[in-house]
Symmetry: C2
Subunit: 125 residues, 2 copies
């Protein structure tokens, strides 16, 4: 049985999703105990949406599911690292491959990549 | 001026430290506004310790400083990604190179790497 420490952030732990082949960091989201156990049992990255206050199977709307390849836990059991296969080519709801497409340069932000898909065509408005 | 959204987690955002050459994820810690600005101005990863409630220059005790190579921000400005040069060969206070040395396998935890240093020799007890 795997025990995570959910006590430090109100029942949640951060979960990093990393491309299992390239090492690129795709996104960070949060998991409660249910989300972690669902991820383990289904093999699909499942998070807890802090805004919607519900479980969220990544890609259930967009089709951009994250297939779990490996799961790692950190030294004090309060952060999860998912190594995933990102279906559909993009993790970010903006259509970018990675959510970390903003780079800090000389005190301002530069956008480092173009979207892979148009969010208006994927999400109903 | 770079504006992060510190409102979702009580004035903090998670910050992921990734080896800038290998892509290995080294650790996750938290930043408040001061920690982020100090990181920007000094070029050394500086976090906020939730337990000690103070700024924490990574490596100030162990010598295992993280030199900043790149800083990225995510789509909704509430997570930071640091691409760093990890001095001393290890990020984790346990002496492991990465904090994510516990791998989930068949419902239990397997330790995937050996420590690089002995924490008893680095930290005063």
């Amino acid at each position: 049985m795997i025990q995570l420490n959910f006590s430090k952030s109100g029942g949640l732990v951060p979960a990093i999703a990393q491309d299992y082949q390239t090492g690129e960091i795709l996104m960070l989201a949060y998991m409660n105990s249910d989300a972690f156990n669902t991820t383990l049992s289904t093999g699909k990255a499942t998070y807890y949406s802090r805004s919607r206050k519900t479980l969220w199977v990544k890609g259930e709307t967009s089709g951009n599911i994250q297939r779990i390849k490996e799961i790692h836990i950190d030294c004090d059991d309060d952060t999860v690292l998912l190594k995933v296969e990102q279906l559909g080519g993009a993790a970010c709801h903006t259509g970018h491959r990675s959510c970390f497409y903003k780079k800090v340069e000389d005190g301002s932000i530069r956008i480092t990549e173009k979207p892979v898909f148009d969010p208006k065509e994927v999400y109903e408005t």
